[in-house]
Amino acid sequence: MDRLEGVKTMATLKELTKEEYFLPGNATCAGCGAAVAIRLAQKALGPRTVFVVPACCTSVIQSAFPFTAFATPCLNIAFEAAAAAASGVVAAYEKKGLKDVTVLAWAGDGGTVDIGIQALSGAAERGTNFIYVCYDNEAYGNTGFQRSGSSPYGSQTTTTPTGKKEHKKDVPMIMAAHGIPYVATACISYPLDFVNKLKKAKEMVGTKYIQVLTPCPPGWRYSTEKTIEMGRLAVQTGIWALFEVEHGRFKLSSPSATLIDWSKRKPLEEYVKAQGRFNQLTPEDIDEIKRWIDETWENYKRLQLNV
């Protein structure tokens, strides 16, 4: 990762604070990938961070009144309104001259790529000074795993019982097209990469967008101890790539960089066969996903080589 001037990125995870801001008593499912993402984000950004959370798993995860599992303040807001409400918080803090607080909109993939994309696009176009993290479990997890625009081709959800017929919506690139200073993808299985991207985003002015893949055992249908392994396979097979678009410049992050050579990627089968949500895939479906991965990576290659 490039070292942004003045940004203290970390060489190892040991440098991450021992302080916990995500407290016991939270209400995650066993093996929840989003929980890992929350814990890392709070540690990376520190206690002077305000969460703005629309309807999503995190609405439940933070636990119910009169308790909270968040040591950082949190404003819950309606499903499609995270980026807009965050804009209001940012404006209030700017008016009050509060400069050292990070406003973090923290939304699921449904609240980001579907119902929340208008408010997100508006906030980005206005150059709102905040970080927007989409934690992506590739469906409406909180309501029992219905299809979202972020669900991958062929995946079963409760509203695509025979498998989704469309590919995943490419929201990181949509956000990059807004010309915002920073867009990145991440995965909880690569915590150092995710933490450093958050730290970098924190130091930049303007809208920063990070989409982090958070595997979901009940939705993806794998055994709860395999969450980190699932995230790794997603990256290693190339179905999820880690990159940054910093001031318009695209760069694959190190876990993904070598995979530009397709022979270095693990076979897609290792990923899809490990998850119940893909158990009906035909060989043709697998070929279709592979074709999509190749096409996506051809684009990454062009962007990486700047041609």
Binding site: V52, I77, S87, V89, V90, A91
Partner: protein, 392 residues
């Protein structure tokens, strides 16, 4: 020093936002509200209003941003009309249930289809149950004064609810009238800076709006109910205090005109209430004991004031610039409900008039009154709901 200026209702709403020292304004343009937003943008960019103006991409986001601003500790303002207000609906509930004292100008306009940009209360009255205080104005002075008073009321610790200050599109929004603008120092004295009891604040972290189970939810709603009751008590007090400081008041919940000895009282909202005064004068010349009462506050609804009003009158003529399909005009319903506990209630006749900006003239009002007197003479209201001025 008090200044007298001649301005449109929309410009006056913008100036009231400035005089109230709003700190964050998030708004989206819609006819006939547009000139409110334009003026605020102009004031902010011209350095005349020290506020953050967020030019959002929808009204839904406008209210979401106002909510964010208010929890961030800023005095928030917005303005909208018709479809914009309807789009906000979800966030209206959020703002009131989050107990945020946001003030919003609603420039009343008809809901489509068919497209119609003119005066009609169908936009704000269909937001009745969102937990917002609703004021209705009859002239530009009242728009200014009510916006200032609304902040005072909403930010009272006993209330902490948002308020809509409604006024009819074009009839007021685009009509110039003389308005007295009090001295800024005196306004500041009346309306001190926003000082919320809680904030989203890193130095005192809390979670707001997280899940509440059935064993707690009702208590939250009861607090809102109680806050609305408190608002009902405070509205006349604040109006009186405003009068003491600035020299004019608007009647608290209800502006009454020649009601004391009236046999028949015309009940209405907004500018129809001004027109009704002319009708009253004319009818009185003809020897009919008529008065008029203009309901300024639809939520909290002034039940007791309506009850007192009807102690002497034998007939109420209710004019609604809105209809609740399958029932009647909303003011008609609320007035009847207010009188239910009283024996020997006056008769009530409801009239639907002025939808989609159709003029309601003093002659129309006189027609309604004459019809009502016929009912009174017959001892019963033959047709409870009547549409006025329909094409044959």
């Amino acid at each position: 020093m008090t200044q007298v200026i001649i301005e449109t209702g929309n410009r006056i709403a913008g100036l009231a936002c400035k005089a109230a020292r709003a700190e964050v304004v998030a708004a989206y343009p819609i006819t006939p509200q547009t000139t409110v937003v334009e003026q605020i943008a102009e004031l902010v960019e011209g350095g005349k209003l020290d506020a953050k103006f967020i030019s959002v991409e929808s009204e839904h986001s406008a209210m979401a941003a106002c909510i964010g601003a208010a929890v961030g500790g800023a005095r928030a303002f917005t303005a909208t009309s018709a479809h914009g207000l309807a789009l906000m609906h979800e966030m209206l509930h959020w703002a009131s249930a989050a107990r945020l004292p946001i003030v919003m100008a609603v420039v009343n306009r008809a809901m489509g289809p068919p497209w119609n940009i003119w005066a009609d209360f169908s936009d704000s009255l269909s937001q009745r149950d969102t937990g917002w205080i609703q004021f209705y104005c009859a002239d530009n002075q009242e728009i200014f004064d009510t916006i200032i008073q609304a902040y005072k009321l909403c930010e009272d610790k006993r209330v902490f609810l948002p308020a809509m200050v409604c006024f009819e599109g074009f009839i007021l929004s685009h009509t110039s009238m003389p308005v007295k603008i009090p001295d800024q120092k005196e306004i500041d004295d009346f309306l001190p800076p926003y000082n919320p009891p809680w904030l989203i604040d890193v130095d005192n972290p809390l979670s707001h709006g997280s899940i509440v189970y059935p064993e707690w939810y009702m208590e939250f709603r009861y607090f809102m109910y109680e806050a609305m009751e408190n608002a009902g008590k405070l509205i006349p007090e604040i109006d009186k205090e405003y009068e003491r400081r600035f020299g004019f008041e608007h009647g608290g919940h209800i502006e009454k005109y020649k009601c004391e000895d009236a046999d028949l009282i015309i009940l209405s909202m907004g500018t129809i209430g001004s027109e009704a005064k002319l009708a009253v004068d004319n009818l009185r010349k003809q020897g009919q004991k008529v008065g008029t009462a203009r309901v300024r506050v639809f939520r909290p609804f002034p039940k007791d004031e309506i009850l007192n009003l009807s102690k002497n009158a034998q007939m109420l003529t209710v004019i609604d610039r809105q209809v609740s399909y399958g029932m009647e005009g909303p003011l008609h319903t609320e007035a009847k409900a207010s009188l239910y506990s009283q024996t020997n209630s006056p008769l009530i006749a409801g009239f639907i008039a002025g939808l989609g900006g159709r003029d309601v003239t003093m002659h129309d009002i006189e027609t309604m009154v004459k019809k009502s007197f016929q009912y009174l003479k017959a001892g019963k209201v033959e047709k409870e709901v009547q549409w006025i001025g329909l094409r044959e």
